[in-house]
Subunit: 648 residues, 2 copies
């Protein structure tokens, strides 16, 4: 084993990146903060719910059948094994996060034993193929998901080793990886229809120090884009097999596949420094960010093929914005942040982590959204699990719940870094950062006090003093001119570079207290004019939190479809009602009953006449955080709200 | 055989409807008119193209395999037989339309012989089941499409009998129908996952006078909505199996299935007078018309599940608007028109027939759109056959091309009716109407001269005089106050009732000439305010023809996404360029390069600041008929165009 200092997820070698993650146990969130509550909910509700559903959905039984311990047909999608693997990864991170209390260790050992029993002599381990078409291993790379399943198995195994769980799961995963390495050697290129194994193989290389896994990851990336996956009813771009990765100009195809691939490629770049792949990643990022990202940080506009969609095709009402896609953005963005040190990638992480990702998780920790639309209509047909009216306990395709769990369990690993340039805080969550001493630098302990994202004041205390530079991210949403910084009681200049303001201790002195104030007015946002679907509308954002208007906050008889925000209305943030959300925003609106409007497209338009839907009776509007929508009655909601002109 | 007078499609019994179709050979379109050209293109290009593709796509080979005449795997979707059946229906109508020239009679006889050879002893005839899972006849009503295939076979057989082709195909179809009638008797209810057989069975009853087929159609309708089709990953509403038809309040599910079902139910109502079903049809119509119909007459917003979508969910950029769905609307609307005599149903037919339906057919008669979006973006990924950038010669699911053919071949049957209240013209196409004498009324011959839909003047001449009342439809799009009517040189009052103005001959006199003038200014339309996707935009319509703005008509460097229509701009109709389209509309626009706009959702909005995308440099705009889009370079297009305010 090469690694030291209890690494967390994604630990590049020294020198390959601008920023280095901290040890996995370096950051602890305070239980009352946003992230701390999330991790607690994840531990007390989500993970137990996962174990229950791994049993009831047939995931564990599928493996028992493969192991000869049970009879019956395979159940679920062909990648259902990965539901277990992602759960095992989440539990492994929990074991590292709360090492004194490991309630699931017996379950994990039983699962490892089951996996070992199901594994074939040759190392193959995919219960769907073993049960349904045992002679067809690797016969259908396009749809088989076998390397995807291996990837999640590897990530779980790596996490278990890193958090002290031992090598039992690694031994199983490694045998499968060895089979894949032999099967897809230099002379027999192949890649999986669903990227995922790339990241996992690089992590395996990091864990073991064995170059073969990095080579295999590189071969996976190199194989893609040459028609390797063959023809089929889905276009090649669906699998990102339409163009070599290094030549890609735009994000394309299935959104989760695209961002998983990008994260894996970023891992390869971190280890190899490949300049062409690095340039491609920056192009793809810029394209996605500028043309194909919702204000919530969600990506993937289309239900059909779960695709990114065309540039500026960002309709709120049918936004697919799969929870897993937003999670994939966090993974990709973190790797880009490590590679470049640029705050814009942390901005994207923050946007997803306060909006698109937590929207997928219910307050009870046992209900989930698979897709995350930015508008839901009155009379919505919520019978599809891909577009329900409220969060659901489980899914036929249950990729999202365990994906949320593995992210939440490792969330504290994405907060801070240390590099030759000092410490950096990228995400603000109440808690502590304790960095052990290294050969050339002393240990540091920071206490972060903040009510972020509900309040923009961040106090960073260094009880034992801080001698190295500290970079604090100034989010892209903040008005840099209004941001203030106070160091040990003295106002300091706010000189933002690449998204960070840097606090330097004077030579020979130490810093004990830094106060960053990020004012959080409620800001109405206009979309890029090519986003036709929200023309004439604004979205409200306060700090990093995007707000929405819910039917539950409107008077009886006033439908959310028939409300307009009065232009120039004061936007007043205050406490949310009934403890449902910490912050709500009040505004003035008007109600224009659409029953008065003519039927579809039957109304001649005139430049001087009233715009349909303007005017109307005053109505008070209350906006709540988007991520908390749908917790009351199932019902209509919208993020983008039309604006009523004040002048007519 | 009960019928007389060479009936066309959908011939209700006397008394069951308000209006009666004319004999199939009563109307002939002039070759230079819109409909006449369409029928000629259909005959000279579309139908030969169908025959070629029935061979190359494997449809005929599938049947040869089922008949033991060939080997090989089944090819195509499991309802591919219906591609042949719809082609046979089209050719049968052609045989009635041009009886002196029947180029495909030998092909039809060969196809009938093939079908007879493939048919099982028990009458079963579905090559997919026979080749792929011969023991599973009717085992999967939800997805099997067997009764759907039977329906199209029956409609072809009925058309062939009605147009003098004889009973060879009917004999085959009837044996299959008898098997279905026995299998799904009163004690064994069942219905097909894809409605279609309902209409066909009623037509078979009309043709044969046998009540059993109407009974079977009624049982099909009655079985639906009781969970008859069982559970599955698609919601019950997908198949309209979520609620009994008579109780349905809203259109739902797969759009083609919904309108095919509605048309079949309307046929049942025409024959039975069932008041509950009739009321349900009117409810469903009103719901679809008011909340789920595009300005082009297309329906079905979603690619996913090919679904109708929620109320007001009418995004132009991802409009699915399948060609077959618009054809289904024509069939449904015609039946509602016959039932009620209300012009609004003819309005809907007209809207579809000049916009959503012909958009699916290329000028070459050999290329087709499956989906008909109202916007296509620059950099659109056109690799999917369901959302290509230009019309395609064929499809894996080739339902639309032969559906277009059978509609075009019978289009003249949907133009006029005769009832106790006289003659009525519902659609205006240049040509002749020759109605034979009946027991109580003399023969009538009308000559219709018009350049409709490019010009709103319609001259109806009765060379031998007209003694019965003549109702002329005044379209809903027309400004009734501007419409003029002249009867034998004398201006007449324009008293529009239920969408028609009635011309009555004075007692003892005859009418020889009627001139209806429907002014066709270019009208900018605003959508219902709940259609969020087109807020701040207008669509231009001239007469019944919806227009669009194409990239091909813009200067280099001006993207269609970056253009605004100047509010109040004169909208001037004139001849189209280069014979591509007869009419184009010029307007003033502005060009606002979006490169100047900030990235997505990064722009704080202020009520006093400029609205993003307004202002800009003048640019001339040319709008062309929507149905003719995509004939030049593949490229961006939009029907709904943002309006730039003149006041800021």
């Amino acid at each position: 084993m090469v690694e030291t200092l209890s690494p967390g997820p994604c630990v590049p070698r020294d020198g390959g990146v601008r920023l280095r993650p901290l040890p996995f146990d370096a950051v602890r969130f305070a239980p009352e903060g946003f992230f701390g509550r999330w991790q607690e909910l994840n531990r007390t509700a989500v993970i137990p719910h996962l174990w229950e559903n791994l049993e009831s959905s047939g995931v564990l039984t599928n493996l028992r059948i493969a192991a000869g311990q049970a009879d019956g047909p395979y159940r679920g999608f062909n990648f259902a094994d990965s539901d277990l693997h992602k759960t095992l990864e989440a539990v492994a991170w929990e074991a590292g996060r709360v090492p004194h209390d490991q309630p699931w260790e017996a379950d994990v050992r039983a699962a490892v034993a089951l996996l070992a029993a199901a594994q074939r002599e040759d190392g193959y381990l995919d219960s769907h193929v073993q049960v349904e078409r045992p002679d067809d291993a690797f016969a259908d790379l396009r749809w088989g998901h076998e390397l995807y399943v291996l990837g999640h198995l590897l990530q779980a195994a790596v996490a278990r080793v890193r958090t002290g769980g031992g090598t039992d799961l690694l031994a199983v995963a490694r045998r499968f990886a060895e089979l894949v390495d032999e099967r897809f050697d230099e002379d027999h290129p192949g890649c999986c229809g669903h990227p995922e194994v790339e990241t996992a193989l690089v992590e395996l290389a990091r864990l073991t120090g064995e170059a073969r896994w990095l080579d295999l990851a590189r071969r996976q990336v190199a194989a893609r884009g040459h028609g390797t996956l063959g023809e089929g009813p889905f276009p090649a771009a669906y699998h990102q097999d339409h163009v070599p990765v290094a030549d890609a100009q735009q994000v394309a195809g299935h959104a989760v596949r695209q961002v998983y691939l990008a994260a894996g490629v970023a891992d390869v770049v971190a280890e190899t420094g490949d300049a062409d792949l690095r340039a491609a990643l920056l192009r793809l990022w810029d394209d996605a960010e500028a043309t194909r990202t919702y204000v919530t940080g969600g990506i993937g506009s289309r239900h059909k093929d779960e695709a990114f969609g065309d540039p500026y095709e960002l309709s709120p009402e049918r936004a697919y914005a799969e929870t897993c896609a937003a999670i994939g953005v966090v993974h990709w963005a973190w790797r880009m942040l490590l590679l470049t040190g640029e705050g814009r990638f942390a901005d994207a992480m923050e946007r997803a982590l306060y909006n698109a990702v937590p929207a997928g998780l219910g307050r009870d920790g046992r209900s989930f959204f698979y897709s995350n639309p930015l508008q839901l209509r009155t009379d919505h047909d919520g019978s599809s699990e891909y577009a329900p009216g409220r969060r659901l306990p489980w899914f036929a395709c249950a990729c999202c719940p365990p994906n949320l769990a593995r992210l939440a369990s490792s969330l504290h690993a994405y907060v801070a870094t240390r590099s030759d340039h000092g410490l950096a805080l990228h995400l603000y969550g109440a808690g502590e950062v304790a960095v052990p001493a290294t050969a050339d630098r002393p240990a540091v302990r920071l206490v972060v006090r903040t009510d972020y994202p509900w309040d923009g004041r961040v106090d960073v205390e260094a009880p034992h003093g801080l001698v190295e530079p500290l970079a604090l991210r100034v989010p892209g949403w903040a008005d840099a001119g209004a941001v203030t910084l106070v160091v040990d009681g003295t106002p300091a200049p706010v000189d933002v570079r690449d998204g960070y303001v840097r606090v330097d201790a004077h030579p020979g002195a130490t810093v004990h207290h830094v106060r960053l104030d990020l004012p959080m007015p409620v800001v109405p946002l206009a979309a890029h004019p090519r986003v036709d679907a929200v023309r004439g509308c604004v979205a409200l954002r306060r700090g990093p939190v995007v707000l929405c208007l819910e039917q539950a906050d409107l008077p009886d008889g006033v439908l959310v479809e028939d409300v307009r925000l009065v232009a120039g209305s004061p936007l007043v943030a205050g406490p949310g009602q009934a403890q449902q959300v910490p912050v709500a925003v009040r505004a003035h609106g008007v109600h224009v009953p659409a029953a008065d409007a003519p039927a579809l497209a039957a109304a001649p338009w005139t430049p001087d006449g009233p715009t349909p839907g303007e005017g109307g009776a005053p109505v008070d509007l209350t906006f709540v955080p988007y991520h908390a929508w749908g917790e009351r009655t199932p019902g209509a909601m919208r993020v983008w709200v039309p604006v009523a002109s004040v002048t007519r």
